[in-house]
Structure formats: structure tokens, C-alpha cells
Amino acid sequence: MPADPSPTPVLRLAGITKRFGSLLANDDISLDLDRGEVLALLGENGAGKSTLVSILFGHYVADAGTIEVDGRPLAPGQPRAALAAGIGMVHQHFTLADNLSVLDNVMLGTESLWRPLSRREAARRRLLDLGARFGLAVDPQARVGRLSVGERQRVEILKALYRGARVLILDEPTAVLTPQESEALFATLRQMVSAGLAIIFISHKLDEVLRVSHRIAVLRAGRLVAVLPAAGADKPLLAEAMVGRSVEMPRRDPVPPRAGTPACELRDATVRAAGRQGRPLLDGVTMQVQPGEIVAVAGVSGNGQAVLAELLFGQRALDAGSLHVAGRALPPRPRAFVDAGVARVPEDRHAVGVVGDLSLWENVVLERYRRPAYARFNLMRRGAAMADAQALVERFDVRGTEASGVHTLARHLSGGNMQKLILGRVLMAPGAPDRVATAPPATPAAAPPLIVANQPTWGLDIGAVAYVHQQLLDAAAAGSGVVLISEDLEEVFALADRIAVMHQGRLSHARPARSWTLAGIGLAMAGGGHGSAAETVALAT
């Protein structure tokens, strides 16, 4: 509950409207924020959360509407004014200088150029004091480059507090944290609101939002569709408010793995950092995925998952150990993996998954344009490619192609539709020799032997997440082995038969999903739990 419900709200947004061309990003949004309150801003990607916050912080100027802080109007379009009014922002991607100390980072930009002497000692004391008050312990002398992600986030928060922030905006703050680190952050948030600060908490994780916030504001397609107290709200209600219809998330009933040749087998796979000594990027990883099985690789971002993904995409060679796909060792080239039937879903859809400036149909055949189905004597069979792209659009329900059809530029697709395009590309395996060339098949063609999906639902809205999950489950049911690399534990638990945890390039034994607890995974993600399941559970309880 708000600690001190004062008559004037600390922040008042009135009628904020912002257009980008024909897109109405924010439509007449009015919202109050009280002292001592955590307000969650909930919404799918593209619902207008970022735009609203950018306007609040002065990065954009609203087309209409006003912002008041403590009853005084805030000058639009000036980040400096927002800072001066006591609005602090912690971005999802930190804005810290790695080569400077914590203290330097915090003081950066706060000192006048005209003052000859720096007041470091006073600043250091103030920083320590703030840290002690809000449970944000960080050594002021430490170099930021050596800090963990959780510690860097604390520095970002301290930076905002040091500048006298009274309204703190946190953009997806838990995306980079382990469950334990998230707990610590929530404790800090509680201390801050009890000291009278107000917090805007942006997230799409419903569990968190329900636990942390006092009120929840839901944005959908630029409009504020609901503002409701967190007490009494529940996940289905919020999901429905976000999406505008009820969403049922598919769930996996764990299936015993099939016998036979593993879809993917890694043995002591080791990848060393280029030209550098020290810890290998991938350190003796052993993993086996049977056909029809979903094995999830969980872990905090940056612990070697990207390297593992590149290895399984055919983009990286092993320094030691072995990798077999369906019983065969493959040369480390993307095309060899594609030809072996590996369905590859990269983490970064925009930068790696598609070529944004090519059309949809060209992206559909991007991996297979040299197949006889699409090229003869080096001439593209454009008609065949476009027909298959059209079939993909229909079967995978790719939206946003009404105006230009398969000629739509890939970059004009939303994230969810882009992911459908990529999934369709790898699951339909267009141009494969066994492809049914005539009418689009009603059921999936031969399932790919191996699917490697790296963060397949990152940044997608709930509806698209459910769709992607269902596709992966269907493929596994049809016999594909699936490696799911994900930082989203909800996703991991919803889909995986077995779960392995990655920490500093090492992969734990993949154990049945049921034998893991959330706390146990959190511990393993932080490097603590390589022991048996019983041990981990005992530690956590």
C-alpha cells in the first residue's frame, strides 16, 4: 500500500499522445503515480511502454498532453529537466563506463565543469550511505568492468538515487538477473518505497508484477486499457487485459525420451576464446538429446549460451571434443547444418534471423536458395519460391502481409511475425527433397531431426509466445530433438523434459524437469549447484 497517500501525486501524466506516422504509439494516456508506490507498466511489445517512458524522460516530445511532477509542469523533450525534477531511469541495457570505478560512474555528469576540485570524499560517503539505506552494497572503488550484472544494476540504481531521484523508472530490470538476484532487487524496491520514493516497474513477467507492485497499468496498442490494484488481480486476468483475449499457454507433459540415435550429442565440447588464454568459452560440455525430447539450457545471459548456440548453428568449430547430429559429425559450416536438417532459430531475429531489406519470400528461401526446387542453372525459380512463401504465410499465420503479400519487406514485420517466418522457414523445410511440392501440407512435413532455438520467445508478446511454444511442442511430438536455450525460467519449465544449467562455460548434467526446483535452478545459475537434485533441494529449502 502507498505509505503516504498525499493529495498531489508525485507524477501526473495527462492525455499523452504520440504518433509515428500512421502508428498511434500512445493514445491519450493519463496516469498518476503516488509517493511510496510501485506502479507496474504492463504491456506487450509495441504496446507503447517504451514510448511513454521515453516521453517521460524527455527523449521524445509528445504530440499532445502534459507531464507534471509534484504539481509543476515538466518541460517536454529535455532529459536534463527530467533529471532535475527527480526522475531517474534504469535502462535495460546499462549506460555505465566499464573502465571507470563505481564512484566515477556515479559522479559522472553531476559535477560542474567550473569547480576546480572534485568532491570525491563527500560523494563516496553519500554513496556508501545510500547503499546501506537501500541494501545496495557495492564497493565504490571497484571497476565497473569487473562487476557482475546484478552489481552493475545496483550501480545504475545508485546513480539515479545519487542524483536525487524521487521517481525511479526500471525497464525490465529482472531480465538479466537470477531468481535470487531478483529477490534482492525486490527487497531493495520495498525499502525505497517505504522511504517515500515512487517506482515505475516495466515488465512483461506477470508473476513479478503481481508480487512487486501496488497498482498495475496495462497498455495495449498504445491505449491504457486498465489500471487495477495488484491485490486481487491474477495472471489470467492480466494476460487477457494485455492481449485483449484469453490466452492459454501450452504446457508440456514430460515424455520419456525415445531410444535410438541421439538427435544431438556433445561430448566434452570445448571452445577456447580466440587468441586468449584463460577460461574457455565452452568448457567440456556434454549433452545428449534424444529424438522427441526437449532439453532446455538455462542460465544467466553471458555464460556461454551464445557460443553453444553458434556451435549448434554450425557457425563455430570445436577446439576439443565432438559434436554429432543424428549420428553424424558435421563440418562447422551453416550450410552443412542446414543440409543435415538442423532447424536453427537464432537469438537476434532482426540482425541474424532475417535480412530486413529483402522481401518475405526471399527470406523464406534464404537458407535453401541453391536447392533444385528454387534454382536451376543459377537462375532463381522465383515463382516456386513465392508459392512456398505464400504457403508458409498461410500455415504459420504470418500477419502484416495484407498490403504486399510475399513481397513485404521482412523488416516491416513485427517481432512475432518475423519469428513465425523463421519458424516456418526451418520447420517447413521448404525446398527439401522430401517436400510435398503441390498443395501446402495440412500436417507438418517430415520433422527436422534437430531444432536449436536460442531465446525463441525473447521480446515476443504472450500470444506469439504461446504460438512458438506450441510449434516446438508439436515438432517434438513429431520426433524432433529440441535444444532450447533460454533465460526465461517460466518457458524452461513449461516446455522442457530435461533441464541443464550453464554457468561460466560449463553445463550441468541435464536432469528431468520435475527434479528441479526454482530455487535449485537459481543456485545452479549462480554457479552453486552442481550437486545432486536432493542436495540442491535441501540447500534451497
Binding site: 521524445y60 529535455q78 551453416p334 541474424v352 531489406d357 536458395y369
Partner: protein
């Protein structure tokens, strides 16, 4: 003031951009014309008349456009794949030199092969010379990440000095009364006239064919698909399994060959020998032309004719009203900047924040 990205640029803006760019260019250039003390309206009328206003003007413009189409295509195809070949000027000169090396009157007579054999050999030599000159920078780029803008630009100076050395040495024409020029091409290898009583030669047909072929290559072939994909997003192309390094090399060979052919066509179609001033910057103008054409091969033809018309028209304007011919370079350069600016404004809108 700041720029905000438009969600989708409107069709009208895209079509209006070049018009606005040309209008802005003429406005800027008119200030300079006025500064030079000439009547602006008459100067522009003379420029237009000199470039396009008579049979003679049109044929001169087409003659000038021929090498420009080829260097424009060389830049366009390379830029499509994000290989920034600034070295077309050097490739053109080396191509011209190779053409004369294959088909020149060395020792008074040259190689004794028949013309039907020697002509393709001459063209192939020119294409190969240009292609190989760009191969080095392309390999250095794809292997070691060396910036090709620097290497190709600097190679221009090296090639020009090399050509100068050859023209004063082994390939010097002994009958040229001491002028640094190469031996002449064999008479049988000269390109025929395309239009009577003009300088337009069959090289124009070759340049137009090259534009059509390149357009078809980019649109209909797997090679073109690779070039466009690598140029638009090399990371995604590599992820999908395209051989990015090899595509860069293929594009380099193609681009260098086109620029080399520009040199051969210029030699065989006009003077018949190489001099150090045979190109008034055709290689560099090719870059401008490619940008004006938005890297479209057929657009290159139109842009090359436009630029050639301004260059030719400026000559006659200069003779009539005394504005230096450099005005043509200013117009072409301004048109490029205006075009880039117009392109920017189709993608972005300007927001004026109240300054305090």
C-alpha cells in the same frame, strides 16, 4: 533539433525526393552562377541547350555517358554488396593500358592475330586488369577487415603513377613527338560509329547491354540474390549459410572488370591510345552516378546521361557566358549531397525542440 525515424516512408516522399534534390541543387548552383557575374536564367538555358538541345549536344552527351555508365555500374554492384570500391578510376586506367597492351601497334605492327580473336582478347585483358586490381583490396577486406575505401582510393594514385611510367617508358608512342602517350590501337580494333557524323560509338550499346545484364543478374540469379543479401545484412547472410567472403570476391571481380572495360571502351571508341588525361574523373563520377541511381543498374543509365549532359552543357555555357566549367563539378557534387539529404528526409522527420 533532432531526427525521428518515420515508421514507413510515404511513397510520395520517395518520389518527391529526387525532384526536391535537383531543385535544391539548381538553387545552390544559381547562387554561384550569379556570383560569377552571369545571368542565371540564360546560363541555365545555355547549359540545358549545350547538353541536350541539339543533335550535336545529344551525341556529345551520349559519347560522354558511355564510360560513365560502365563506371556507374562498377560502383553500383560493389556498393550493393557493401564493398565500397572507390578505385574505379585506377581500374579504368589499368584497363585502358591492358587494352593497348593487347591490341596496340607495338614495334609498328602489334600482335599478328586476326581482329576477331584480338578484339575479345583486348576486352578480356582490360576486364581482367580491372578485376585483379580490385581483388587485392577485396581479399584484404574479407580476410583481415582492412578498410577497402582506403586501399582502393590509394591504389588510384599508384596506378596513375604506374600508367605515367609506362607512357613515358615501354609503351610510349615513338611517333608522338615526345608527348607521354601510348602506342595506338590497331586500326581494326577501333569501335565503329553508332551515329553518322558524331562521336557516338558502339561502346554505348555495350554499356547499355552491361546495364541490362547486371540488372538481370541481380534480380534473377542466385549470385544476385547472394549479393543483395550480403549487402543488406552480412551477418544474417552468413548465418543462413551464404559464403560471404566468396561473394565479396565475386563482386570485386565483377566491379573491377566493369571499370576496366570502361577504360578499354574509351580507348577503342575515341582516341585510340592512352593518355594521362583520358578520364576527367570518370571513376569518381561513377560513384556519384551510382548513388543518384540508388544503386539500380537501369537507373545508372539515366543518371549517367544526366551527369554527362551537365558536363557537356557546362562546357558550352562556359564558352558563352564565361562561367568556369567547374560549375558542372559543383552541380554534380551538390546533386549527390542533395540526393543523400533527400533520402535521409524520406526516412526521418525533423523535430524542432524549443531551445532554451
Amino acid at each position: 533539433m533532432r531526427l525521428e525515424r518515420r515508421s514507413t516512408p510515404s511513397r510520395a516522399a520517395i518520389l518527391l525526393a529526387p525532384v526536391a534534390a535537383v531543385a535544391g541543387t539548381l538553387l545552390v548552383a544559381s547562387l554561384l552562377v550569379a556570383w560569377a557575374g552571369a545571368p542565371v536564367g540564360r546560363a541555365y538555358a545555355l547549359l540545358l541547350d549545350g547538353g541536350f538541345g541539339s543533335r550535336f549536344a545529344i551525341t556529345e552527351t551520349l559519347t560522354r555517358a558511355t564510360p560513365l555508365i560502365l563506371t556507374g555500374l562498377a560502383a553500383a554492384v560493389a556498393f550493393r554488396a557493401r564493398l565500397f570500391n572507390i578505385g574505379a578510376e585506377g581500374q579504368l586506367y589499368l584497363g585502358a593500358l591492358a587494352a593497348v597492351a593487347a591490341g596496340g601497334l607495338h614495334g609498328g605492327s602489334g600482335f599478328g592475330a586476326p581482329a576477331w580473336l584480338l578484339f575479345p582478347a583486348m576486352m578480356a585483358a582490360a576486364a581482367l586488369a580491372g578485376a585483379l586490381l580490385l581483388l587485392g583490396p577485396a581479399l584484404m577486406k574479407s580476410r583481415y577487415g582492412v578498410d577497402e575505401v582506403v586501399t582502393t582510393l590509394l591504389l588510384n594514385f599508384i596506378v596513375l603513377l604506374f600508367v605515367g611510367a609506362m607512357l613515358d617508358g615501354p609503351m610510349k608512342d615513338p611517333t608522338a613527338m615526345g608527348w607521354p602517350q601510348s602506342v595506338a590501337l590497331q586500326e581494326a580494333l577501333h569501335l565503329g560509329k553508332l551515329i553518322e557524323r558524331s562521336r557516338v560509338h558502339t561502346g554505348l550499346v555495350g554499356a547499355l547491354a552491361a546495364a541490362l545484364l547486371l540488372w538481370a543478374l541481380l534480380k534473377f540469379t542466385t549470385h544476385g540474390f547472394e549479393i543483395r543479401a550480403v549487402g543488406a545484412n552480412a551477418r544474417a547472410a552468413a548465418f543462413a549459410g551464404m559464403p560471404v567472403g566468396w561473394v565479396t570476391v565475386k563482386v570485386a571481380l565483377l566491379s573491377g572488370a566493369l571499370a576496366g572495360l570502361a577504360g578499354a571502351v574509351e580507348v577503342a571508341g575515341r582516341a585510340g591510345y592512352v593518355t594521362l588525361d583520358m578520364s576527367p574523373g570518370y571513376g569518381y563520377s561513377g560513384i556519384v552516378i551510382a548513388m543518384l541511381a540508388a544503386l539500380h543498374p537501369l537507373g545508372v543509365v539515366a543518371a549517367a546521361v544526366f551527369v554527362a549532359g551537365i558536363l557537356v552543357g557546362a562546357d558550352s555555357m562556359s564558352r558563352a557566358v564565361g562561367v568556369p566549367t567547374y560549375i558542372a563539378d559543383v552541380i554534380v557534387a551538390t546533386a549527390l549531397i542533395a540526393m543523400l539529404g533527400a533520402g535521409l528526409f524520406t526516412q526521418y522527420r525533423v523535430r524542432w525542440a524549443r531551445a532554451r
